[in-house]
């Protein structure tokens, strides 16, 4: 879609949508070539719900979330097209892609905040965790130091850090990975955001700690009523946390639907392949047929052949076509549109009816 057309369309989003991304394109320049990391992303983040963005490496899921925050490192990277329509707390409709830097600073941390996979990269090692939360609170809510500290302790309690009054004076390195991620969440929530972007927040954690953090995030999302954009590569985590799911491949959303629909009736061959290729614990998939003679062979996993294309060398047409068992000639000619295949269910596949 040409930019002129997009700009001509009236800026409007449905009441139940907090953020609507249309045709977002974020490109990077590397060794003189253009890397189209995000190349036409369409997403709707519903109000008070969790949208999981799932994809493999190079799908553009992290670049999408950094684009929303306007944290793309310039001049190497740049948002070159599309709109990110966001309704702020005062009810104004803003296009985050074009918002002046000063106004974006108010939104970032004030209304939209973000947590990352590795909390140590965002926590300052020379300040206590309490100071860091207090600073964020004082900066965005205009509170004095004593009040900010009281809020910091309260925030640590909110994220279930034991002995919060004592731990508020600890430094990040004195804490475990799970505790640090809790501090990051406390920091991100200290300004009661309307939208929390969480980029692989549990990927570096052990599975028993991951279960704790997912529990916590689910509870907080519900209690605070915020929207959450949860970026992950793990379909198990998606099923645990998401209300809605967007599947990304090679810089585009190839499917978006409610979590039950995505798992029960995927309408894109890539989604179908992803769901089929993960081994499941047999206790959760009693129907899965296996040969269990010790030393004997298992059923083969349904693997997707080939590998993810480099965003610097995308194939023409549907980027998944070279790996797709259902691809026909038309798939290689032009990029299919993201079309509604059922209410609230969109797929970018010419052959969705055959799935």
């Amino acid at each position: 879609m040409a930019m002129a057309e997009a700009a001509a369309e009236p800026a409007a989003i449905a009441d139940e949508t907090l953020l609507q991304i249309e045709g977002l394109r974020t490109h990077f320049r590397k060794d003189g070539a253009v890397v189209r990391s995000v190349d036409g992303v369409d997403l709707r983040i519903p109000r008070g719900r969790t949208l999981a963005v799932v994809g493999e490496s190079g799908s553009g899921k992290s670049v999408t979330s950094l684009s929303i925050m306007r944290l793309i490192p310039e001049p190497a990277g740049r948002i070159v097209g599309g709109r990110m329509l966001y309704r702020d707390r005062t009810g104004r409709l803003l296009d985050l892609a074009r918002l002046p830097v000063s106004e974006m600073r108010r939104i970032r941390g004030g209304e939209i905040s973000m947590i990352f996979q590795e909390p140590m990269t965002s926590l300052n090692p020379v300040f206590t965790v309490g100071d860091q939360i207090a600073e964020a609170v004082a900066l965005h809510a205009g509170k004095d130091r004593a009040e900010a500290r009281r809020v910091a302790v309260e925030m640590l309690r909110l994220v279930e850090i034991p002995a919060a009054e004592r731990r508020v004076d600890e430094y990040p390195h004195q804490m475990s990975g799970g505790m640090r991620q809790r501090v990051m969440i406390a920091l991100a929530l200290s300004c009661r955001p309307s939208l929390l972007i969480a980029d692989e927040p549990t990927t570096a954690l052990d599975v028993t700690i991951q279960a704790q953090i997912l529990d916590l995030m689910r509870r907080l999302q519900r209690e605070i009523g915020m929207s959450m954009l949860f970026v992950t590569h793990n379909l198990g985590v998606v099923a645990e946390i998401a209300h809605e799911v967007a599947v990304m491949y090679a810089g585009r959303v190839v499917e978006q639907a409610g979590v039950e629909a995505i798992f029960a009736h995927p309408r894109h061959p890539y989604t179908e392949g992803l769901i089929a290729c993960i081994p499941r614990l047999r206790r959760h998939a009693p129907g899965q047929q296996r040969d269990r003679e010790p030393g004997g062979r298992r059923h083969r996993l349904v693997a997707i052949p080939g590998s993810i294309p480099s965003p610097a060398a995308l194939p023409p047409g549907c980027a998944f076509a070279p790996r797709c068992s259902r691809a026909v000639d038309a798939c290689r000619l032009e990029i299919p549109d993201l079309v509604e295949v059922a209410p609230g269910h969109r797929s970018r596949c010419l052959r969705w009816r055959d799935l």
């Binding site: 034991p162 099923a239 998401a242 047999r282 959760h284």
Partner: protein, 337 residues
């Protein structure tokens, strides 16, 4: 087999088909001691015993600090065990001298999690494979080339890719190169240390299929170290569950995953996210963090997070006992098995 004699290593009964038998393995690392701080000992691996039958894949699972990686490296003597026996095909590897060890290394290989950091970026693929092929003895050029081609085909790469450098390959292809290099010496036994953990899911399935083919076609025996229980259950015949340096439970994969005996195994299984939003969930959420390996709890190392712990758990190190045929668990609470 009853509980092990007091003081002695816990033993798992040996089977005639075992290729590898690990008994009472310990690895202690001294840490600290500088700047006036006290020197302490990290007991990374403490009294670990298990066996791997010929042609089988045994999974070693645990979270960080469980000691699973240390066990894998101590078996290959990439690190020196502090105590214990590592019996490979009847020979105690832990006691071998340098020359004998080198000969044994030909039979035991390792695949790492991150193939990129284990492949020399300045060497072409054919040079990487050739280095492994000629590590033991020189080989004529033509044969070297022929064997390299066959190895690449074997792991699903095209022979014409052999003149490329590691950075020209995707993550999955690099792992295939790592596997080809391990296979070059025609080993009987492979330690796969988180070999699929860094791969994208669509590629992970390809590599799991390849590992199965290799086991089948070459009769390989494998110790598969991992943290994703679904992957480990899928690939392995038997699973050894570790926590803070100790074995919690051992059993055939499906039985252990369907009806875990040890409270830690139960919690670990219930914590695994289920890729199905419609599946019923009954989660045991463990309280607190994994303790630091420097300050391991007394008695049962899991007791500080265990929902079933009683006073006695703090005083007795529970022995690994056979709770059903082929199933072993280290828990004194017989009433909750």
């Amino acid at each position: 087999m009853g509980p092990a004699a007091a003081g002695g290593p816990t033993a798992v009964p040996s089977r005639p088909a075992d290729l590898l038998r690990v008994q009472g393995l310990r690895k202690h690392f001294p840490v600290g001691g500088g700047w006036g701080r006290p020197r302490v000992v990290v007991k990374a691996v403490e009294d670990v015993s298990f066996a791997v039958p010929r042609g089988h894949i045994v999974g070693l699972v645990g979270e960080s600090g469980s000691g699973k990686t240390t066990v894998g490296r101590a078996i290959l003597r990439l690190i020196e065990p502090t105590a214990g026996r590592v019996e490979f095909d009847g020979t105690d590897v832990a006691k071998l001298g340098a020359a004998a060890l080198r000969r044994f290394r030909q039979r035991m290989q390792i695949i790492f999690q991150d193939p990129y950091s284990s492949l020399n970026p300045r060497m072409r693929v054919d040079e990487i494979i050739a280095e492994a092929l000629t590590a033991q003895a020189p080989m004529p050029r033509a044969e070297r080339r022929d064997r390299t081609e066959r190895l690449l085909l074997r792991v699903g790469l095209r022979p014409e890719q052999m003149r490329r450098y590691p950075h020209e390959f995707s993550g999955g292809q690099r792992q295939r190169i790592g596997i080809a290099r391990a296979l070059a010496v025609e080993p009987d036994f492979i330690v796969a240390d988180e070999a699929v953990s860094a791969l994208d899911v669509s590629v992970q399935a390809q590599v799991l299929n390849l590992l199965q083919d290799l086991r089948e076609d070459l009769g390989l025996t494998m110790l598969f170290i991992g943290h994703d229980l679904a992957v480990v259950e899928y690939l392995c015949d038997e699973i050894v569950v570790m926590y803070l340096g100790r074995v919690m439970e051992i059993g055939p994969s499906e039985e252990l995953c369907a009806a875990p005996s040890h409270p830690y195994t139960r919690a670990l299984l219930s914590a695994a996210p289920i890729p199905d939003p419609a599946a019923p969930r009954s989660r045991i959420v463990l309280k607190g963090d994994i303790p630091s390996p420097v300050e391991v709890p007394s008695g049962c190392v899991f007791r500080t997070r265990c929902p079933h712990s009683v006073a006695a758990c703090a005083t007795v190190v529970p022995p690994l006992v056979e709770v059903a045929p082929g199933r072993f668990s280290a828990c004194i609470r017989e009433d909750i098995r």
